[in-house]
Symmetry: C2
Subunit: 298 residues, 2 copies
Amino acid sequence: MLNCLSGTNCVCLKMTNILVEPHIDEAEDFIRRGIQKHNVLLIVGNCCVEYEGRASSKLEPGERIVIIKEDGALLIHRSTGYEPVNWMPGGNVVYHVRTIKSKEENSRDRISVNWQPPDCIFHVQMEDKMLKIHAVRRKPTESVKVFFDKFHMVSVLSLVDSGEFALYATEEDMQKAILAEPSLVEEEFKPISYERKVEPGFVDVYGMDKEGNLVVVEIKRKTAGNEAVLQLAKYVDAIRENTNRDVRGILVAPNIAKGVQTLLATIKLEFKALSPRKCAKILEKSRTRKLESFFKEK
Amino acid sequence: MLNCLSGTNCVCLKMTNILVEPHIDEAEDFIRRGIQKHNVLLIVGNCCVEYEGRASSKLEPGERIVIIKEDGALLIHRSTGYEPVNWMPGGNVVYHVRTIKSKEENSRDRISVNWQPPDCIFHVQMEDKMLKIHAVRRKPTESVKVFFDKFHMVSVLSLVDSGEFALYATEEDMQKAILAEPSLVEEEFKPISYERKVEPGFVDVYGMDKEGNLVVVEIKRKTAGNEAVLQLAKYVDAIRENTNRDVRGILVAPNIAKGVQTLLATIKLEFKALSPRKCAKILEKSRTRKLESFFKEK
DNA sequence: GAGTGGATTTCGCAT
DNA sequence: ATGCGAAGTCCACTC
């Protein structure tokens, strides 16, 4: 389990890939291999930093946390502050994953991964008895050099993280915001009712545009997918049949899933982006007002 | 040196304060004490995150790096990307350090530190067999909850870091920028000649203002201090004597040290702020040009 | 404390 | 590729 490579304070846990208080030579090897494997590197040590590119900067020696991510992003953090003191945004890492079907009956399919290098590339080498990690990027042309003379911890991580991240306001918040500020949906949009019962269920907001057309608004708090479009289409069709009038359908959501946009256009429905931030701002102003009051006023 | 508290994979290095693959109970104690001591915490583990405030967000489970800094800044980083997926900017930590003079002859002065809590406060507790780290902030009101069910590494760091950070454009960059765009110094400023740097750190440019007065420009790539003002004053005085004409002196730098501004005004010199960013932008258009070429054109 | 503008802004979506 | 606008922008400075 433990594999103490050398030195009195050095500990290497192979399974977790952590070096504690390593000699600089061990750290060098460890870091180089970590970068080659495109893992996440987590480094704590005494270093100075030079940046050259869109501007220039120099950071005198001190103990910092350095993170190198799978996409080549480089972050250098001090003991305070939200922002990194130095950094390099690394992007455009594309993993082309291709499944190669096995010809054997009970054999697993192979997976071929073509890895495309990130915008940001790294060079690791000793210089003046210090370990230099040099990150270079084209477009814009810039470079960050980190010089270590002491490592407290070096860790190579394979972070397993497929968890979805969703940013949203609650659907009720979005509804409130739209009723308080109908122009969020469209200029001169006039809400008539909300949570109106229609055949298949309830319409989120129901109103009229400046031409006098009926408008059905469907609200989704997160990225709108196919099901949101179909739901809206159902309401629009139902109201068209009931009223025998022109009815527009507008899908309001923070954003819309790739490809769903074309489906939406095909059946002549519309999309209006509405960010959670904007909803929160609108609600700030009318926090105390009750949902019902919006209509009593009119 | 090694102190394996429990579990097969757990290692605790007291001196470096690192827990590797700890049980959740150990991690809890460790993290709570780390936060109380206002140290930097470095955590790697499986977690999900909920944010509520200016907007709302939910991050499904996955392995991430979590950093809590001395000022209460909270960063949650995934395996890619420059930006944290969730965060809390922690600021306003003020250490009031007061030196209490010792009355004894050969005794050290005492230092009294009044610590003012950061805007962001933390609560650590078990919830549903997970460790919840709850960060709360007022103004704006927001909260981040991180739920851990597995820790790979927990580290409490006392980062010793007094290294100065300086952001600047090189003096040549700033010189080029001014020659390319003289209005950076002043409207209708006309450069006449430039002088290569005499002492490290600054370069002079000679020119004329729209009134026909001679203008001496001193460039500092970093925050201008007293010495910059005195250097400029020396130049201005020398040229006044030589030419027997009115000479203005303008100090160009990213910014000026506190208090130096008044000194500058006292001896009737001027200051013009010029950010490295602005220089970089100007130079974007004329990156390859030699310094001399700015005059050949005219 | 609120408002304003800059940033080594970054990031995403449009053309 | 390029350009434009939003961001849980952050951050520093002014009023």
